[in-house]
Symmetry: C2
Subunit: 145 residues, 2 copies
């Protein structure tokens, strides 16, 4: 597995160990991780800090020129909020661990010119499957169901 | 002006007085404000807390059934991030102060069944116009330009 997706998966595993929702993400600019994060719904009671949002928040304020040279790695297909954020900042490429347990707004992203790569990582799938089986209500809350 | 849009405008003015980006929002459930907020880019160095996101964050974790009975009020047309968040949580209606200084993803929202009402408030327009004239670089950063 690519080192950046591996870093995102490590974030997801940290979230799982904290009793949270195991989705992780890293924002990469020219082979350097600018920010990493994981879903903070449980840990911080946050409704906006999905993994991708947390990674962006931890990367801090960046000029548009930087975002336009970034790749966002995430263990799970990005939901409408995270996809909208990718569009807001003009991030040109997203690498997704898997979309079997949840299909996000990949078509919207592609229709707006974002390059979307789905790795289909079995390790990412298994982590989410385990979590969803253990805490289905928490998972539904996170995706507005 | 509607009392809830007025509350959102008060949030926006608070943001302006703090030296921040003057966009405010309130989340309303059955005639009660669940959360209010304003853009926190300057105040907290946040790249995710737009006014709408801050209002949702301050409303805290809510079940999907509550979001589906809410109206989100915002002084400015919602950007892709905030629009995606509206879609994620299934908020059925958005009341927008104005869309003259920035046109957000109103068409995407409508295409997904969200009711979008644009008040076209002169007071909202003037506050944004003053801010954009004073701090154009900060404004561009906030919308990824």
């Amino acid at each position: 597995m690519d080192q950046y997706l591996q870093a995102a998966l490590e974030e997801a595993k940290t979230g799982y160990e904290e009793g949270g929702i195991p989705i992780g993400s890293v924002l990469v600019h020219k082979d350097k991780i600018l920010g990493r994060g994981h879903n903070k719904r449980v840990q911080e009671g946050s409704v906006v800090l999905h993994g991708e949002m947390d990674a962006l928040e931890n990367a801090g304020r960046q000029p548009a020129t930087v975002y336009r040279e970034c790749v966002l790695y995430t263990t799970l297909s990005p939901c409408p909020m995270c996809s909208g954020t990718i569009l807001l900042y003009g991030i040109p490429k997203v690498v997704i661990g898997e979309n079997r347990t949840f299909m996000g707004e990949e078509e919207l992203l592609r229709s707006r010119g974002v390059e979307v790569e789905v790795v289909d990582s079995q390790e990412c799938v298994e982590l989410m499957q385990r979590f969803i089986q253990e805490k289905p209500t928490l998972w539904n809350e996170d995706i507005g169901v």
